[in-house]
Amino acid sequence: MSGESKKAPYRVPIGPNHPALKEPVMFTFEMEGEVVRDVDFAPGQAHRGIEWMGMRRNPVQIVHLTDRICGICGVVHSLSFSLAVEQIAGIEVPERADYIRTIVHEFERIQSHLLWAGVAAHELGFDSLLYLTWRVREEAMDVIENLTGNRVNYGIVQVGGVRRDIVPEQHAIIEKCLATYEGLLDTLLSFFLDDRTIRMRCRDVGVLSRKDAVELCTVGPTARASGVNVDLRQDYPYAAYGDLDVKAVLPDRYLGETHGDVYDRIVVRLLEVGQSCQIIRQCLSEMPAGPITAEEKLVKLLATCKKATGEGIGRVEAPRGECLHYVRMEGKDSPASWKVKASSYSNLMSWIPMLRGSQIADIPIIVASIDPCLSCTDRVAIVQDNRRSILTKDDLHRLSAEKTRRLQG
């Protein structure tokens, strides 16, 4: 073949259903040989219209809807929604409830990071490690089930507090689980980080520079692996984090350098498992006695919420990064407006610089490396029937001008 190919770059569509993708998303890769020249993706395949439904329900019902925005980060969404509503209605959350929220929140981080580590190992073709990490993950699931009653979609957070207390008998169970993880952490770290294959597949693969990470507003472990020092638990403490000493986990503190590659993302997530164990332990020892909810009677709670007017924002550091809920109440049963910005929404755009120039075989691990959660994100993306609808600045300006004229007329 001659040097200059007359064919346009090959277009490789992947998705929306593909074994490498756990969730529906549509990728279009423009390939040149083995190398990805450009990439476009179309989320929105799992759009369920949750915000629209939420604006027809009352806050107590919405909390259980928020659990089902995402099955992995259930407590994150319900917590962040509750924080927003509590802010509007002026509900003071008892201190003990804050601690219980923090404990469940951190257990969720442990199980989510282990889940991700297993998926990452699977994408690299290291299935024995997938089974190993998922086996140890079950320990966290058992404790979560013991604390909340459910393995997934916990339903423990309610506006004004939590729905279940942690009794002294449960302390021993939690302690046992934490000890297991702390004992296992070194093994896990050495399995992932000292393995030659993983190092070869992940070092300097899917690099996201610090500049790109900041410009694309990435959040959570994806941003931290690129050396951006962001962590809501440290920057804007909520729940009990104000009393705890949480420092963002950055790869250079462990390895002495930051590459911003897939390997660094593994480091950050695994170290955060250890960090979560410490946080839970600290919570258990400092947890004050007292009530677990500001208002036990749901009818009374609903009446308080109904009277509330104003707007509130709940921000929570999800396992994947910052999760934001904006709520506006106007003295009615249901919120006048509810907007969710999940962490993956901020992280998705980082796929483009990561994937550009990488090899086709690296696509699965790079896509997985930001821990995408599309069920979280797909409430918001607008994609029309696989047609690319990219609006240029001129188009946007024209639309904006037209709308102004329409409103005037």
Partner: protein, 144 residues
Amino acid sequence: MKLNALFNRSLWVYHFNSGSCNGCEIEIVATLTPRYDPERFGIKLVGSPRHADVMLVTGPVVHRMKDRLLRVYQQIPDPKLVMCIGACGISGGVFYDSYNLDGPVDEVIPVDVYVPGCPPRPEAIIHGVVKALEKLERLQGVKA
């Protein structure tokens, strides 16, 4: 119970996410991991619908996934079984009043076994697979 001749070697499952919240997805993968280890009975998750005997459908079938669900269903060779995992695939669940649903699943493709729960526990999913096998035996008669 005895396994049908067509299924007695192994049962390969294909998982289709029709817009679920991920809860059922993790529980399906958790089912396949060492704690429950159904692979010792030959139950295995496969990447292609053409290799599959059973299709696990999760999620309430959002508008954009309906066509894909039908296409994937047609690609699975006969005899095939469909298991609907999770409350939202059975009835819509918490998403019942959404504007974007074409579901529940049984309005799009025929469903053999329903596994309720939001999400169902791994034990429930395994129980569902056993029920599916029993149903198959009833329909075809045991040819052991």
